[in-house]
Amino acid sequence: MERIDSPEKLKALQQAAQKKQEEKESFITMCGGTGCQGSGCQKVIDKLKSEVEKRNLSDTIGIKITGCQGFCEQGPLMVIRPQGSFYIRLEPEDIPEILEETIENKKSVDRLLYTDPESQQKIEKEQDIPFYKHQKRLVFKNNGFIEPTEIDDYFNVDGYSALAKTLYEMSPEDVIEETIEANLRGRGGAGFPAGKKWKYCRQEEAEPKYLACNADEGDPGAYMDRSILEGNPHLVIEGMIIAAYAIGAHQGYIYVRAEYPLAVKHTKQAIEVAREYGLLGDNIMGTDFSFDLEVAEGAGAFVAGESTALMHSIEGKRPMPRQTPPRSVQQGLFGKPTVLNNVETFGNVPLIIMNGAEWFKSIGTENSKGAKIFSLVGKVNNTGLIEVPMGITLRKIVFDIGGGIPGGKKVKAVQTGGPSGGCIPEDLFDLKVDFDELSEAGSMMGSGGMVVMDEDTCMVDVAKFFLDFLKDESCGKCLPCRNGIPKMLDILTRITEGLGTEQDLIKLEDISKTIKKTALCGLGDSAPNPVLSTIEYFRDEYEAHIHDLACPAGVCPELIYYEVDPEECKACDRCKRACPVDAIAGEPGGDPYVIDNKICISCGTCIEECPFEAIAVIPGQQEGSEKVKRVAQK
């Protein structure tokens, strides 16, 4: 393999890749991302390959297995280019029809197209689907076009041009200036300006300097870093080389959690290939700049995503955060100046270098520029990965891109920023999503998790869920986080069991403040956010739990009871047979059944079983059979 030793050589390779691409008549791109793998895309891919082989189409048709295309809800996904037909929810049986209709007759297969839920119209092209139409894809732009393990595909989309521009036309100071000018803020959570961080690190005198990439994504339901590394690892590598050039580092690490085997595999392969082309290692692109990368695999501790803990982990120690200062740009990895940025931050760097700071600044709000990837999950129709310009409203994300709430339910809140973010209620949905507005509302940008909750979600239960997660993930080093979170969880559990008092709310807020102000690292600092934000916006729910002994959303088992609607019940006996504690009485075909709430444990099995929807959940305590009393007696 030839090493790239000049920009001209790169240009030649890019042109060769384009030429190779043009030889094929059309391309079938199948999403091979994690979401689609889960929906069974591998079988479809196998079928597609064997069918193409069988029909002798290999010369005219190219098949690309890409990284995540984002619309995970509708997977497995397929796009046929240049027609642009976008097929969803594929089964292996659909392949012959697609090959006949779309490839040979150039017609689209109607039944596999996306149906717009509002107008019930079939939409053929990807860019016309509301889910994609309202997005602004920068980092994710090429995810659906390129095969992650093929560097030729990356060359074809002008890959590594930004690196050539950096090395041959810009000084390290220029790169830093450009990044500061673009106001690229770290996408990992805190939103610290990346350019400034690089500048501070460059100013440090100690040598060597290190560069690290944080791909230890641990938020429940968030998977954007994983998808970038799986789908377009060269973009991140290119961004890292540029950053290394800017700060003067010669060794870098990509810290990926080992639970992301595909991301690890693709990143390692990409590093290997980049080395062969002379894009990593000594004398990159024929200049005297040298930089090499290594993948460090994490063992899956959530706290290892915290910068100092991550560095301890790379050094081979337990991932426990330490007190800053000294900050990592002064004393990071192995005690040397280190810049740590998130995957998505590095993914933005080549784009800024290529298109300039002015272009980047034209997207977004005053203090938050560019676009941000969110993983939209929870009670929303279109779950998946979305990249939207900063400053878009939550309402637009949930209703236009997300397609609203399933089952015609009402939306209650959106939880942003992962387990340590806060819940934003529906009446604040018009706030603009950027770093500052979110933290003003008591939440945070975080790494970009976005969990939509509908009216059936109990906010006390949500707070409890996140604290339970954080309790397990606390490293146990500092006192407020180690003991404070379990204490808060205890109080919340009491409240959900109906044993809470008004005093508990005061206590919760008090401990929250102590944890927030005194915890050692970011995990502890932000751990009380779910509690504080739910108390602020949903105080009535907490009060209903405490004073009325009722869970308004019908979630907490001790604060609800079930009742059979005698008019709907057909005495079919299914609920009685399903009940694990024999709490339902009645005879098949006889009178309507009755639930004895003295015995019932509110497991919900009967509701699932009932074909007539005759069983209702009623918040509160049934007279004579108060469940809270039972808990108290225990």
């Binding site: 007190q323 006192l479 003991n483 204490k487 102590t514 102000k517 005194t518 050692l520």
Partner: protein, 245 residues
């Protein structure tokens, strides 16, 4: 070493001359400003784990631990105000919530900083002085044990005043307050507290990963332990088990 610059700092409106770059918590203690702190040991690198020594520096809204802060010229420190004291009280409350508090049976009682703080923040009923008064008739040894604060000062005076009695500690894992001293002290970078717990709670998988065989029996971990836990005892019991097999 060249002489350090003397600088002036203010702690709670009290002007103090201190060496530039000195540890703020140590400086405060030397000037009899009793900022609570359970995890700072002048001979070990600070871990900043207990968070009791948080102070507000130069009017910052976010408190920082004094034990990891270096003294700078003109520094203005708020060490005691209503908010900080409330945080400290909450923190001690939290620490005591997981602590055995079996003072009557504990060897550290009467010479226990946690006990002292519990009393100071009115969470615990009995002060070390009162405790000594009542119980010194029962066990004489409490009179002679070094007060940890003096020990921490590392002054020659404290050595003569309070001779260290060796082998007088008999702590149990439940006495651990997770100050992190033992981890910092271990010359082989082991995690003594985790090894102890893994042995105690029979977590063999965890134990294997902590490589207890690397222990060189130097005893530093138990020497620095404020709970006087005999950490190496747990290691050797493990070793005996292995030899038996």
């Amino acid at each position: 070493m060249p002489a350090k610059n003397k600088v002036t700092i203010t702690i709670d409106n009290k002007k103090i001359k201190a060496e530039e770059g000195a540890n703020l918590l140590k400086t405060a203690w030397e000037h009899e400003i009793d900022i609570p702190g359970l995890c700072y040991h002048p001979r070990l690198s600070p871990t900043a784990a207990c968070r009791l020594c948080v102070v507000k520096i130069n009017g910052s809204e976010w408190p920082k631990p004094a034990c990891t802060t270096e003294v700078e010229e003109g520094m203005e420190v708020v060490a005691f105000d209503e908010e900080l004291e409330r945080h400290r009280r909450n923190l001690i409350d939290l620490m005591l919530s997981e602590h055995e508090c079996n003072c009557v049976m504990c060897d550290s009682a009467g010479d226990c900083e946690l006990q002292e703080l519990g009393h100071r923040y009115e969470i615990m009923g009995i002060s070390p002085e009162k405790f000594r008064k009542i119980y010194s008739n029962v066990t004489k040894k409490h009179d002679k044990l070094p007060i940890l604060r003096h020990f921490a000062y590392d002054s020659d005076e404290s050595k003569t005043k309070y001779p260290k009695e060796s082998g007088s500690y008999s702590g149990e894992p439940k006495d651990c307050i997770r100050c992190g001293y033992c981890i910092e002290a271990c010359p082989n970078n082991l995690y003594p507290v985790l090894i102890m717990e893994a042995v105690k709670f029979e977590q063999e998988e965890l134990l294997a990963r902590l490589s207890p065989d690397d222990c060189i029996r130097c005893g530093l971990c138990s020497f620095v332990c404020p709970g006087r836990i005999k950490l190496p005892d747990f290691f050797s019991s493990e070793k005996k088990e292995k030899e038996k097999v």
